[in-house]
Amino acid sequence: MKTIEVPALARVEGEGGLYIGLQDGKAVEIRLDIYEPPRFFEGFLHNRFIQEIPDITARICGICPVAYQMSSAFAIENALGVKISPDARALRRLMYCGEYIESHALHIYMLQAPDLFGKESAFELAAIAPDVVKNALRLKKIGNEILKAIGGRSVHPVNVCIGGFYSWPEAAPIRALLPDLEWGLQTAIDCVKWAMTLPYPELEIDYEFVALHHPDEYGVIEGEIWSSKGSKLSIADYEKGYIEEHVKRSNALHGRTIDGNTYLVGPLSRLNLNHEQLLPAAKKALKDSKLKLPLKNPYKSLIARAIELVQFYEEAIQLVKSYKPQGPAHVELKLKAGEGAGATEAPRGLLYHRYKIDENGFVQFAKITPPTAQNLPRIEADLLAMAPKIVKMPEAEATLTAEHLVRAYDPCISCATHFLKLKVEEVK
């Protein structure tokens, strides 16, 4: 038989490497190397017409295309001074519900749960708990169906445009989602109960939590950028509070607060900062779980994702029931030179875009700050905290332990974490 490498199997954007430097048996340096596709896209977007941008940025990630699409659309709309209609905004939130549902279902059950069960992969989990995996696939599929009903297809939806949507999707296929969504809501509530029974490693970190906050809804699109340390910034001022810096010996940019501190974006931050905005069923699921907030254990972000799964099924039901779009699907654009920022909450954390466009609507500058770049220094700091334990383990166990922590962050690195290569070296 020939040896054949199919890119569908090997579609991993480079390799993730973890380096631990030891001095006298103690870890003194941690370096997590991860390749980030958004950097390529920033250059690729140059001189592209604004209406191309949501479709191109959607291709940065197969798991969170909506997040990239939304952050770019809002940023460019801000540059043009355009406000989308309330119906278009509601439909964008429904799309986001679809993305959260499919991304969280995938991560909870197929990605992190095998680690918690001590299983090598979802295959082993499927062997001992096929019904759990079947439920996971159904939960995930419903998320895809939402995207398909709105965006024309499930993986890279194509209906979003600058100004709203190209056209209103038909109501019948959207309403037809309701029975599945009702099932999904109940299953998500059960998922929270199940998540509370899983054996999480003990680790409490004093994070600075950062997330988008909106007073009237669970923060996903629009709002202010809040930090658990008290900072509140408008999206336009994001770069005044958060910077990216080049780190020696690493290609990836690392996010820091303006004061030089690490911070955390993602489900723990959202839940800790925005739990008061949860919808009733999600709020009840949180209350019934008896979780104490703020949740500081990175492994328990699985529970935060489960609560968000309830939130987004619940919200999807509301949005589907009220879907009656009126008026034009998009506002007419008047092109002008300008600059605008947009930030939305991707399932794995805050995703910030900024664009400069010329008077003809062509992009002259693009900046994309993905959640993983912001979390990278934090992941490294967590690994450093765990290093004394890790370095005493046999290599295979050490790699798995480190991988589990990295996976708990659900990094948006086009899936490189399972290629983690561990290198432990005595520093002289």
Partner: protein
């Protein structure tokens, strides 16, 4: 028999777009076949586990994707799923689930269900760096890939 014809790939990864392009061109070249009611055509970038949804209700499938098989770019390989190397890849991330792993998971979850015949048409890729557009060699191969898709469809229709 319901047959799925699915192009897989990434449009911004050079030759990795060949599966998508080939299926689109096959639809244009063979509209009478592609529009039949028992044929379902999809192009999907990185479908991952959603491949199972695309195969739902199908009785046979043809998957068209780029491969790396150390031969001349543009070479067409017709493969069965069992022939994929790294079939039990140690991939633990569900993000990167590929065709082989996804099919394997489906078999594990539904061991009693009859597996449907799946034919893979793999096109040897040259460069798969970031950037749009197929290489010249792959563009030249497209008509042959379309013929290969048509042949496989005809074979399945004759069953």
């Amino acid at each position: 028999m319901m047959i799925a014809v699915i192009g897989i790939g990434q449009s911004l990864r050079g030759d990795d777009a060949v599966g998508l392009e080939a299926v689109r061109q096959w639809q244009e070249n063979y509209p009478d076949t592609a529009k039949r009611s028992d044929i379902k055509v999809d192009v999907s970038e990185l479908p991952g586990l959603a491949l199972l949804d695309l195969l739902d209700g199908m009785e046979a499938a043809i998957l068209v994707d780029a491969v790396k098989c150390y031969s001349v770019p543009g070479t067409i390989h017709t493969l069965l799923p069992e022939q994929l190397a790294a079939f039990t890849s140690d991939t633990k991330s569900a993000h990167g689930w590929g065709v082989a792993e996804t099919l394997q998971l489906a078999r594990m979850l539904n061991p009693d269900r009859r597996t449907i015949p799946i034919q893979l048409i793999g096109i040897e890729a040259g460069q798969m760096e970031m950037g749009s557009g197929l290489s010249e060699k792959l563009k030249q191969a497209l008509p042959r890939v379309c013929e290969a898709i048509q042949n496989e469809v005809q074979t399945l229709l004759a069953i």
